[in-house]
Symmetry: C2
Subunit: 443 residues, 2 copies
Amino acid sequence: MDASTTNEQNRPHVVIVGAGFGGIWAAKELADQPVRVTLLDKNNYHTFQPLLYQVAAAEIEPEQIGYPVRGILRRMPNVTFALAEVTAVNLPSQTVTTTHAELAYDYLILATGSITQFFSTPGAADHTFSLKTMEEGVKLRNHILTCFERAVQAAPAERPRLLTFVVVGGGPTGVEYAGALSELVHGPLRKDFPELNMGDVSIVLLEAAGRILGGMSESLSDYAGQSLQRMKVEVRLEKRVTAVTDSHVTLHDGSQIPTHTVVWVAGVGGEALAKESGVEVLANGRVPVLPTLQLPQHERVFAIGDLAAFPVADGAAGSPYLPMVAQVAIQQGIHAAQNMGRHQLGLPLTPFHYWDKGSMATIGRNKAVVDWHGRAFTGFLAWLIWGVVHIMYLIGFRNRIMVMLSWAWRYFTFEQTVRLIMPSNHVAWSSMIAEDEYEKSAD
Amino acid sequence: MDASTTNEQNRPHVVIVGAGFGGIWAAKELADQPVRVTLLDKNNYHTFQPLLYQVAAAEIEPEQIGYPVRGILRRMPNVTFALAEVTAVNLPSQTVTTTHAELAYDYLILATGSITQFFSTPGAADHTFSLKTMEEGVKLRNHILTCFERAVQAAPAERPRLLTFVVVGGGPTGVEYAGALSELVHGPLRKDFPELNMGDVSIVLLEAAGRILGGMSESLSDYAGQSLQRMKVEVRLEKRVTAVTDSHVTLHDGSQIPTHTVVWVAGVGGEALAKESGVEVLANGRVPVLPTLQLPQHERVFAIGDLAAFPVADGAAGSPYLPMVAQVAIQQGIHAAQNMGRHQLGLPLTPFHYWDKGSMATIGRNKAVVDWHGRAFTGFLAWLIWGVVHIMYLIGFRNRIMVMLSWAWRYFTFEQTVRLIMPSNHVAWSSMIAEDEYEKSAD
């Protein structure tokens, strides 16, 4: 072992848990610092979550929004990757336990992101689809297509239930998915399934509050609502879901919607690792952080991104914390890495300031909303801005080209080509819908 | 119901089982005939099997070689699709039983394709990877990448076993996959895993006969063998596998190769449905057909493609039957449909004649072999021919563009970008390799 290697081994060891936006940008920032970095994730790829809903709407291939973590790290010789699920963080002993090993750290960055929250709604955890992971996106795509295939072979009375799709939650993801689903169903699926009556199809967007896109200005909520209605999405406001089964949704007014498909994008909370490791968390699992992004009483531990609850005076939709969006995670990842460098040098740490680049959501072809410091943009201009920004933050030049090509193809042909039930989900066919309900069709 | 509908209902009902090359081309040919066609498949997409090995080598997205069957059928109003697994063919009653219904047919085309054959080799069915379906391609890709991730965290003594990849069978698929795997491993994976010593990697191609590519001329076998050796693939001839476990392969000479990865492309036989339904089959499950492609004693039933054993005087590699390749299936699909038309009209049926367009296999960058009626082409020219022919037969313009782009990207960047373990296979990590063998790595 030569001198330089010994020197490298003596560098402080930084462990980053999670290769999402926060973790990747923190690693990038640390690539030039005199530290050894280990990045841990249970997947070997970074997921570009903002486009996950397009995977679930058969618009793009899942591979187009996944990028191998090791590919990102290639030009960072002081950063190594380990494919591992972290099972515990041990703050007193400064170690992290994974499914395969135990790692000691000098500094820790928790960037595990968020998980779906069901607010103890009976049946919701078991009978709804989420949109947080690549697997969930593919599973939902497969399920939608399977519902159509199944409707063909079902008794006519069963078809409306098979072709009713309920999206719970009128935030950006709910709006984007409801719009994308409408374009999938009323575009290519209408042509693919001439046997079916499109009058049997309903797409319902349920929102508990008085308007959708509550984090944006009211004019944008109105625009989005009207656009969705024109796209045959039934937007129902002030509707709370009180129960979900495998065959219907119950609302707080007692009414029921018969459906096998409930997409739950109504709430997200902090990923469970922090809470399970005894880190102090809020009720929704997020970790309260100091303005420096450090954990209170743990100066060598930082929490960033969706996991971190960072207090602000005027959060979106009246929340006292920064929103759970990619921009917050990216900026916090960079800031945490810089603060770590200051801590090493014994310099005072600086508070994080969020540079709000605005919020946006796309609704459909030529239709999007952009809220930029109170200024509202809609329609084609907003849709272009949305597209350019999303391509910019997509990692990997090939992925950018492929996604742009997929978009261009769909734009000009009106076709969602990834209409593949793959991996094949005979599971979805038989388990999501109780077998005895299924009416065999006579030839 | 108006007169035209009644008339259509009175048309003979043709059931096609299988949406591979044979089934799709038969359906296309029947689109203009006065028949009602029902095409059945357990997947909602057609798989372009000749490029499956590239999915398993992380070169292309699985979605790029899958095309929705309903998309293909859109311009064929007399053809309907049903997503269903056929569980039995009842020749006496002229019906087909699916997992969801029972269908009566006037004519039946069996195009169920082939399955892997293990020749009763102990352990082979349980401990090897196949390359027949999209799922298998993705599973193998995930496994290869997981072996590398696992090697990083394994004790050094365990690494050679994790990084030894054995391909059993030196036919076109085995040669193509061994070459593609070499380019994946010694290209991007070498850069992705600087922690690993590439001297621990072995790729071994085992062939029971005296030369690889036995169906082609000897000069091509030599060229392919030498090319593979230069690509660091160890080609071992006259080696029969006698047993496979989850940790090694045993050869007939008693020697063992320690490995967790055995890719079995040594044999294919007819898909099981025909045999299970009591149809007369050969020992390998293929259905012997008359020169007209009809089943003996069942003039309304045709078998085509890999499933059909069509006798020839001079088959490839000395086989008395036509080879199991896409061209045979395509030409037989068309011919069976035409003969069915003749049968309806009371005309005599014509015997099938195979128009041999030659056989080919790609080995790697700028390297392929083409055997065209005894003429041998190698190197860059053969590689170009291979590429053009495969793009031509790929269904869907978008898929053609996407595959060409993937190839161009890889050609110019030397990168296989689909290095994603997705869907995540924690299963592969823990179940393919017994947990107790796994050495925890110290930090």
